[in-house]
């Protein structure tokens, strides 16, 4: 199969060995080559992915989402909610209005949580970076895991019947009806919005990508082979829970983490453990919890965090066994 990214490797090689004249087979060469290749590949895939998903998103509005999901319960709605979560952005500042909007329109609490779990987890920037660094296969596993996690987590929360742990005022609010011209966007306008999104997101994350790739590159070039396998290999059963517990409070930008995790995997970190760590970083974040505290009582937030954490740990073990 033709490696469509070969031109990037060619550029990286040319710059490292001919322009910068670094001697091949040295640690420095390995690091620099890695950094150039990864930076190019990540930014290209970022731009493509963000554009495509943003374009699709112009067809999926919160209002439409409410109509599709409203009122009924059942596993298929959890799945639908999770899949909608994949294409919807989830800036934490929108989590409260979105949550209230969903609950108010009759979307069951569990289904709303399926959306809330998958949405930050499977975001197009992280997917692009994962694809660029760790590869398509693992990226697809990540996406599917994110959806399954959402469906499962939301379903369990639904079963627990924790509706009374939502702040009372949420059920009393009436969300107004907004008939904005989202329906009548022309292709050129959709493309413009998608392009704006690319600019906006790349503008926000580029520095983290550069830092993450640089750190990952240094590790790649200088760390001894198999060092992670020694300390965090598959037979170290504590590795997965520790990785997840480390990831949950980490609110660093996942875009910086991904290139570092790529290097860790190369040096022997099992893929399941790596996946679990990344999911822990993205699925739960302290700022999101602080904002959600406005609408959820602590029992519900606690249940949410616990269910997601345990599910991620399970996922980590599962993929360590399977992969």
């Amino acid at each position: 199969m033709v490696d469509v990214f070969y031109p990037l490797q060619w550029i990286a090689d040319k710059l490292t060995y001919e322009v910068f004249k670094i001697a091949p087979e040295t640690h420095l060469a390995a690091s620099v080559n890695f950094i150039i290749y990864d930076v190019l590949k990540i930014f290209i895939l970022l731009a493509i992915m963000i554009f495509v998903v943003s374009y699709i998103r112009t067809y999926v509005t919160p209002e439409k989402t409410r109509k599709i999901l409203g009122g009924r319960t059942g596993l298929q709605y959890h799945l639908l909610a999770s899949m909608l979560g994949v294409v919807t952005p989830f800036c934490s500042c929108s989590s409260v209005p979105l949550f209230i909007g969903f609950v108010e329109s009759g979307i069951p609490l569990g289904v709303t949580f399926s959306f809330l779990i998958t949405s930050p987890l499977v975001n197009e920037a992280a997917v692009a970076a994962l694809w660029a660094t760790i590869g398509l296969k693992v990226t697809l596993i990540y996406i599917v895991s994110g959806i399954v996690l959402g469906v499962f987590g939301g379903y369990v929360i639904g079963l627990l019947k924790m509706e009374k742990y939502v702040a009372d005022f949420v059920y009393k609010i009436k969300v107004g009806d907004q008939n904005r011209d989202q329906e009548s966007l022309k292709i050129k306008e959709r493309a413009a919005i998608a392009f704006d999104n690319v600019k906006e997101i790349v503008g926000k994350v580029w520095i983290y990508v550069i830092i993450g790739v640089t750190l990952g590159g240094i590790f790649h070039g200088y760390a001894p082979e198999g060092i992670l396998a020694q300390y965090a290999g598959k037979d170290n059963l504590l590795a997965v829970p520790i990785a997840v517990v480390m990831g949950v409070p980490l609110y660093s930008n996942v875009m910086g983490m991904i290139p570092i995790v790529e290097s860790l995997i190369e040096k022997g970190l099992p893929v399941g453990t790596a996946l679990a760590f990344l999911m822990a970083v993205t699925a739960l974040s302290l700022p999101e919890m602080i904002i959600l505290k406005k609408v959820l009582k602590k029992e519900l937030i606690g249940a949410f965090v616990l269910i997601v954490t345990v599910s991620i740990i399970f996922t980590g073990y599962l993929f360590n066994i399977l992969l």
């Binding site: 934490s92 929108s94 209230i100």
Partner: protein, 77 residues
């Protein structure tokens, strides 16, 4: 003219306020600029994704930081 910026305080909402104030200064249009952070009020406008901008009670944009071009169009209409 009353311009309301709907948002719970994230950086995008601040950026929206900056852009609006900049365009107002450039065009010399007089307007009252209010930041609405109350969730109930935001939802009453039917807005679920912030930042959003409402002019004289009508929501003009929601879910993204508005373009300077668009703001200029709205306030000079």
């Amino acid at each position: 003219m009353k311009i309301e910026i709907l948002g719970t305080g994230c950086p995008k909402c601040k950026k929206t306020k900056e852009i609006i104030e900049k365009v107002l200064k450039q065009t010399g249009v007089e307007a009252e600029v209010i930041k609405v952070e109350d969730i109930e009020k935001i939802l009453n406008y039917g807005v679920m994704v912030t930042p959003a901008v409402a002019i004289d009670g009508e929501v003009k944009v929601a879910g993204k930081v508005p373009d300077e071009k668009d703001i200029r169009k709205w306030i000079t209409q």
